[in-house]
């Protein structure tokens, strides 16, 4: 026990993957809804 975290890349990859999915998904969702919305 040295107080140093070894490894942990699976957590790093999970955090970046979640970030990419949420931000890209939200961007796509906004563009899609705007494209389908009625034009005044």
């Amino acid at each position: 026990m040295r107080g140093v975290i070894e490894g942990g890349w699976e957590f790093v990859i999970a955090a970046y993957a979640v970030t990419a999915v949420v931000l890209l998904g939200y961007a796509f969702s906004v563009c899609w809804r705007l494209w389908r919305a009625p034009r005044p």
Binding site: G3, V4, I5, E6, G7, G8, W9, F11, V12, A14, A15, Y16, V18, T19, V22, L23, L24, Y26, A27, V30, C31, R33, L34, A37, P38, R39, P40
Partner: protein, 231 residues
């Protein structure tokens, strides 16, 4: 609300900056001495936290302006900012949970920072739900603006919780508390999320504006006739 292309350009710029900052943080930034590679989560977690609070501060400003000046433009921006803030807050809690597991040994802890952030998420998600339940546009605008002003009280609580109370969470990450070797990927990703949210909040406000315009538009005679079964 205009129809110019600048929000798409700003959104694209934000995504490009996020890719650049993330590659820098994952590949070129040095390992942290105690947390090792797990610390690289900071390059997405901290920009998400900063921008969540920034977007919700914009929602608060829109709520105040909506109440003081009126006008559907502020209401549309308020709706857009609240939705963006909810998305970033949910992402923030998820990233934090993933980071907590290898560093604290648990996925979640009811410590002051995490608890106030969870309250923030559910309060603003509730405001979005409230908008969906109210049919009268005027009541919807006033009630949600008042609710945003009340819920915004939690934002400074989230920010200062790590200083005011004994928290498991570390102090706020700022250029003063983070080593210089980590500054650039953090800054690039912070501007990436900022530009992304500026573009998306503007586009989402246009969507709210269009829905509002369609809501108040009188039904076309042919539609009325169709509804009455005459066509």
């Amino acid at each position: 609300m205009g129809n110019s292309r600048w929000p798409f350009v700003v959104t694209g710029l934000g995504l490009a900056l996020l890719v650049w900052g993330s590659v820098w943080g994952l590949v070129y930034a040095p390992r942290e001495v105690y947390m090792g590679d797990v610390q690289r989560i900071m390059y997405v977690h901290v920009p998400t936290a900063w921008n969540a609070m920034l977007v919700l501060t914009f929602a608060f400003a829109c709520a105040v302006l909506s109440l003081l000046r009126g006008g559907w433009g502020w209401d549309a921006r308020l709706e857009a900012a609240v939705e963006g803030g909810v998305v970033l807050s949910a992402l923030l809690c998820t990233q934090g949970s993933i980071w907590a597991r290898p560093t604290w040994g648990v996925w979640w802890d009811w410590d002051p920072r995490l608890t106030t952030t969870a309250v923030l998420l559910f309060a603003f998600a509730g405001i979005l739900a409230l908008r969906g339940f109210v049919d009268d546009p005027v009541k919807r605008a006033v009630w949600t603006a008042v609710a945003v002003v009340i819920a915004y009280v939690d934002v400074p609580l989230v920010y200062f919780s790590v200083r005011w109370w004994n928290s498991l969470h570390q102090l706020q990450s700022t250029p003063e508390t983070v080593s210089r070797a980590f500054h650039w990927p953090l800054r690039i990703n912070a501007f990436g999320v900022l530009f992304l949210m500026i573009g998306l909040v503007e586009l989402r406000a246009r969507l709210a504006w269009r829905r509002r315009a369609a809501e108040s538009a009188p039904p076309l005679p042919s539609r009325v006739a169709m509804a009455a079964g005459r066509l």
